[in-house]
Amino acid sequence: MNQNLYGMMAEFEQPEELLNAARAAHQAGYREMDAYSPFPVEGAAEAIGFERTRVPLVVLIGGITGAGVAYGMQYYSAIWDYPLNIGGRPLHSWPSFIPITFELTVLFAAVAAVFGMLLMNGLPKPYHPVFNVPAFKLASQTRFFLCLQASDPQFGDKTKHFLTSLNPIAVHEVES
């Protein structure tokens, strides 16, 4: 068997076929796999065994940080660092600190959402073995792909046979 193999990839026409194939592969004991589609397919992540995303947690942390930074900065500067008496108002005039606190909460949370999502996805990643398959160009347009990776202990000579049994349009070898 080819030593430089990243995995085997099956190509499908319909999202439902991809879902069924992913479930069948999971049932057959494969764990190291990924499904590729031009648009999000409901249930595909769960079918390959990816249940939970930590994006919401990251966004929550970002938002709390933003709120803390904004209010802390205003409190520190107005009460400690440079107290100014403006028309006899209390130094800690908290209602006027709210708009900036709100804006920075949103800003930090949004930055956390975008960069957290990209980093957890391992992007930017200019090179990836799946791009070695010429037909993979269609993964961003009309076709759906299931890739079983060679790093899986189940992976072997029977993998190609298994993928063919799922009735794909084609089965491709993915060179690493």
């Binding site: 390959i48 995303t53 205003q74 500067s77 799946v130």
Partner: protein
């Protein structure tokens, strides 16, 4: 009474492949047309006019504008509020309508978001230029300066800096994140190597993995959730720039909701002004259907009525307050030296939108286009009336004055259209103007629901 709307969101006969082809072909296959070149040349010429006006401004200072005491806020602030208001429709369409599951938004959200970004870019210019010394704009930000000073946190003008810069950043990120999968499609569909490279770099190596999609969808949804209160906050903060001052005509608690409604009103007017010619020029009538135009028109009607309610409340309150300065301000707007502007704004913003009660008008692109243009003019005039008539006669008649914009004011305003349109022409030429992934999914979901 739940009659399903017969006009479809997408014309029948499309599958996800043909949708993808049709949208990418606008950029990849369509030859560089004379129409685009002429349009871009026109926009670029206006942009050069803006450059010229700004260049002279930097040399001579804000004295070349018509502003003076008592009217120290002239065109710059009017244009700022107008442009930032236009910028509200994009986020409204892409965030609020996403959370409300309005699937018709799919084919116009990318375009509206781009419009938002470019409008915010134009808006951001004006307060910077109005500073007088734009090169020290960073004094507005909290940074460790040698005198140990901080911004004045109790001032709405400082809130505005944070609100507008947050809004610009979040809109940019929201737009770009939505673009990433589409950039991957562009990379995979473009034939020349340099194009593949450029789109490939911008797509960050997106490969459509199921894990990635799950995180992507979650991040996108959360961004929409964050952008929703943000969009309402931005124009509220802008309105506080006025409402916190004690000037008659500004000092009013109705300003935040009334400004937000006006922002969405003018934003949808601009969406229609741009969409109607673009869908025709690019043959996108199958994706941007009459249904979209009609829905935009309905939102315009609703927000237009809110704005009218704002005007009436303002007038009622100045009578009810029994405050002679407030009553004089209202009468001065109607019958004073700037009366034509007030009557024009009433005509454009209150009278004209009433035509949208009729379905025959809502579904007629040509008439809608004219209506939308009038609303754009009306909303600009509204800000002009708010800024200028309130300032020019406040409490002491000895301090009254008259404001006249100069040719430099006009050049800067007209030039800002050049910036806006140049960016828009480049966007249409270089990026997919309709979300490919969302349209493919929409077409497939529609087909499935038909088969069931």
């Amino acid at each position: 009474m739940n009659v399903p709307d017969e006009t479809p969101v997408v014309a029948p006969g499309y599958d996800s492949g043909s949708v993808t082809r049709k949208i990418t072909d606008v950029v990849l296959a369509r030859p560089l047309g004379r129409g685009w070149l002429a349009g871009f040349a026109f926009a670029f010429a206006l942009l050069m006019l803006l450059n010229f006006a700004i260049g002279w401004l930097l040399i001579r200072g804000v004295g070349i504008w018509g502003i003076n005491i008592p009217v120290a806020w002239g065109f710059a602030i009017v244009n700022f509020v107008w442009w930032i208001g236009i910028g509200h429709a994009g986020t409204f369409i892409s965030a609020i309508l996403l959370l409300l599951h309005q699937d018709w938004r799919t084919s116009i959200n990318r375009f509206a978001e781009a419009m938002t970004l470019f409008a915010v870019a134009c808006a951001g210019l004006f307060p910077l230029l109005h500073l007088g010394r734009p090169w020290v704009f960073y004094w507005l930000l909290p940074y460790p300066d040698t005198m140990g000073l901080w911004p004045q946190w109790r001032s709405p003008l400082v809130w505005d800096v944070f609100a507008v810069s947050t809004y610009a950043t979040v809109s940019l990120m929201f737009w770009y994140v939505g673009l990433i999968p589409d950039l991957a499609t562009m990379r995979d569909r473009s034939a020349p190597r340099p194009l593949q490279f450029i789109y490939g770099v911008m797509a960050l190596g997106w490969r459509g993995s199921a894990r990635h999609w799950k995180r992507f969808k979650m991040a996108y949804l959360l961004l929409a959730g964050l952008a929703t209160p943000l969009v309402l906050s931005v124009h509220s903060v802008v309105s506080l720039d006025f409402a916190v001052a004690i000037v008659p005509g500004w000092h009013s608690t109705i300003f935040p909701p009334y400004f937000v409604a006006g922002a969405i009103f003018s934003g949808f007017a601009m969406v229609l002004t741009l969409l109607i010619p673009v869908r025709k020029a690019y043959g996108l009538q199958d994706f941007i259907t009459i249904r979209h135009l009609e829905n935009c028109a309905k939102i315009m009607l609703a927000t237009g009525l809110m704005v009218a309610h704002g005007y009436i409340t303002e007038m009622f309150m100045s009578w009810y307050s029994d405050d002679k300065f407030d009553i004089y301000m209202t009468l001065n707007r109607m019958f004073g030296p700037y009366a034509p502007a007030w009557w024009l704004l009433m005509f454009c913003n209150v009278l004209v939108p009433q035509a949208l009660w009729f379905k025959s008008i809502r579904t007629n692109p040509a008439i809608l286009f004219v209506l939308a243009l009038l609303v754009n003019v009306g909303m600009w005039t509204e800000r002009y009336v708010i800024v200028v008539t309130s300032l020019h006669r406040d409490f002491m008649p000895s301090a009254w004055g008259i404001y006249h914009p100069t040719r430099w004011d006009w050049m800067t305003l007209i030039g800002s259209f050049g910036l806006f349109l140049s960016l828009l022409f480049l966007f249409l030429r270089l990026l997919p103007a309709i979300s490919i992934t969302e349209m493919s999914k929409l077409v497939r979901d529609k087909k499935e629901s038909r088969q069931q």
